[in-house]
Amino acid sequence: MSRTRTTAIGAVTVTLALAATACGGGSATGEGSNDSPKTLTYWASNQGPDIPADKKILTPELKKFEKQTGIKVKLEVVPWSDLLNRILTATTSGQGPDVLNIGNTWSSSLQATGALLPWDEKNFAKIGGKDRFVPAALDSAGAEGEDPAAVPLYSMAYALYYNKKMFREAGISEPPATWDQLVADGKKLSKGGKWALGAEGANLSNNIHQIFVLAKQHGADWFTADGKPDFTSPGAVAAVKQYVDFMAKDKIVAPGNAEYAQNQSLSDFSKGKTAMVLWQAAASTFESQGMKDSDWGVAPVPVASGAPGHGKNTNSMVAGINMAVFKNTDNLDGATKFVKFMTSDAEQKILCKAYGSIPPVKAAQQDQSFDKPELKVLRDTLAKSAAPLPRVPDESQFETAVGTAVKNLFASAADGKDISTAAVKAELAKAEQQMNKQ
């Protein structure tokens, strides 16, 4: 045997052994400890207009926490494009932060990895008990029937934002309350290079948020009771068709929106190119794009008929951000204290005000700064007519598969193709088959 080969095999063996030993027991699966009680690493999601803005908002609060507890928090604001991948690699390797923000729709999927600290009664007691939180927000923190994998931090809901001036000019006195009205109004608004409704056709999660609600209104769920994907039920197909038809049949969405994925629909709205968007907590964006608060109005998202409520009159997903603790943290007590601090009434008021979101903490919601018309609509929606996205481990695959299906349908619609029920069903069937067979 040649020397190179011997060396090579030796090196491979050593490295493999190294990898194997450390992977077998190592930190990825280790349980939490309190080995380094003085520091915490925190991954925040990008909630403000940009990352420097987030840092500006969070840093003084973290200083406050340091003063109270002597624990120094190392902050990293992770852009949304990287966040899930960073969490996945952290999960796989055990090299992650102590505390992190997650999109609340990922809760069940991340819960399934077993990497996050479960919030049982005991842990909840340390942060003041479960009862402090709005039930709808808690529902979006993990799979049904299990202890939540995270704690609600910021809540949001969808609302219909409309341009008052454009409505006035089209002779529309009130924002639409049903989809039929929206389409009728939309046809009046869509002319002369202006369009009625904005959409983010290439943004997978936004597509999901919209069609989830529409499917609810058609009486359909995306998963069966035992957690199997069920994407081709008549209700689901009708929901997707209805959403894509805003562009394909009703022609109230500009074809160009099919390639939007970076919130371009919001800039279109700010510039008066579109009259309505369905969005969550958009006020700060409008402001940063130079739109005055008095220029736009806000109303609940339309339903098929009647008033927003539960079941078929659901008109929003429970949107929001949850805060989770990595199970293998080396500062478990500190991490819990930090979650307690961030969800305290006082901090909730400061942070939610800064981000334009609704506090998931009941006591903080009562603050009068959340009585502005926009936040009132969002708060009511959250309390009365919002439902959490499917609480199953496959949720994030669902977002990718069905979100892509809707994106593809939008692409065809933008190309001027007619979107038939059969086409929608075929696209959804493809998405369903892509899901993991467990």
Partner: protein, 332 residues
């Protein structure tokens, strides 16, 4: 070329070779040290290649036999074995996962053939046109290298900006100014995205072909052209009978390298389309990325990558066998 070198062995070369013929050894004392020297020189390269390429590949192959969904990634060493399941999912062309992989594979093949072909064609043509001196040649040569010198991200993002449906330059020119298309086209979604991806890939890639061919042209002796001119050969004949044949060894390597780079290209589609590429531009590297990262199924993703690797090994092997027959004997 190598033959000559081996016949006149360099210093120490004979010490390392097990040479039963017993050629005279010039430097007896240093024998042991010298025989280890080439290995010592290779050691860093071997070490880093093992660390970053070979060992991870071995682990990757290992992973492809595991059931690595989100339930197991945290403790992947203890994830259940999947046997050949991941492979059979990937290769079952009647089921959607296999179909999608096959589709993506075919798209990638078409994309690679077109991109490599165009890069080679433009690069070679430009190099031949720039072979003779004329005013502005130096400027053009520098200019042509700019796409290659630009960092991938900046180049691709600029194209994305140009390909936008509403505000892009491409639609502005084709639709608003020239009126070639009836309506603004979509370039970043739908079927046209293949064309868009190809354009960007060729724009980025052809200067490399240009650079290599240009270097190759400088090795063609001038007197060959002069002699053929005396024989009455015309310019196209010279290109056909002198330039292209002389470039053959260069092209052999160039095409292979371009093929491998294009086939595995991830940066370009990723920057252009983000995490979900349109079906018509869903290159295999993107498809595997989505199959592992977006759907959290690293086992199937690894199995697909291993299949891709096997395919590339096969193609490269056949290619080398085909192109270097006859040269190999000399290449001990």
């Amino acid at each position: 070329m190598t033959t000559t070198l081996d016949r006149v062995p360099g210093p120490g070369a004979e010490a390392a070779s097990a040479n039963p013929a017993g050629r005279p050894r010039r430097r007896r004392p240093g024998r042991l040290r010298k025989s280890a020297l080439p290995y010592l020189l290779l050691l860093p390269a071997v070490f880093f290649e093992l660390l970053v390429h070979l060992v991870p590949i071995v682990i990757g192959i290992f992973m492809s036999f595991k059931k690595l969904t989100q339930f197991f990634i945290r403790d992947w060493g203890n994830a259940p074995w999947a046997g050949w399941d991941n492979y059979s999912i990937a290769l079952d062309f009647d089921a959607p996962a296999g179909q999608a992989l096959l589709h993506s594979f075919l798209i990638t093949c078409a994309f690679t053939v077109l991109s490599v072909g165009l890069c080679w064609l433009i690069g070679t043509a430009a190099a031949i046109y720039l072979q003779e001196a004329f005013r502005g040649r130096g400027v053009l040569r520098a200019l042509f290298l700019v796409p290659y010198a630009l960092p991938v991200y900046t180049a691709v993002i600029t194209w994305v900006f140009m390909f936008q449906h509403d505000n892009g330059l491409v639609n502005h020119v084709l639709h608003d100014q020239l009126g070639i298309t009836d309506a603004p086209s979509f370039w970043l979604i739908g079927d046209n995205s293949f064309v868009a991806l190809l354009t960007v890939s060729v724009w980025k890639g052809w200067p490399f072909a240009f650079l290599i061919v240009m270097a190759g042209l400088q090795n063609i002796p001038r007197d060959m052209y002069e002699a053929s001119w005396l024989d009455g050969a015309t310019m196209p004949q010279q290109i056909r009978h002198i330039t292209l044949p002389s470039l053959r060894p260069v092209n052999q390597v160039l095409v292979l390298v371009l093929f491998l780079w294009t086939f595995n290209d991830f940066n370009t589609p990723f920057v252009m389309f983000g995490k979900a590429a349109p079906e018509s531009a869903n290159l295999i590297s993107m498809h595997i990325y989505q199959s592992s990262f977006a759907t959290w199924n690293f086992g199937t993703g690894s199995a697909m990558s291993v299949l891709l690797l096997l395919f590339l090994l096969l193609v490269t092997g056949l290619y080398l066998l085909y192109t270097s027959r006859g040269r190999r004997a000399a290449d001990a």
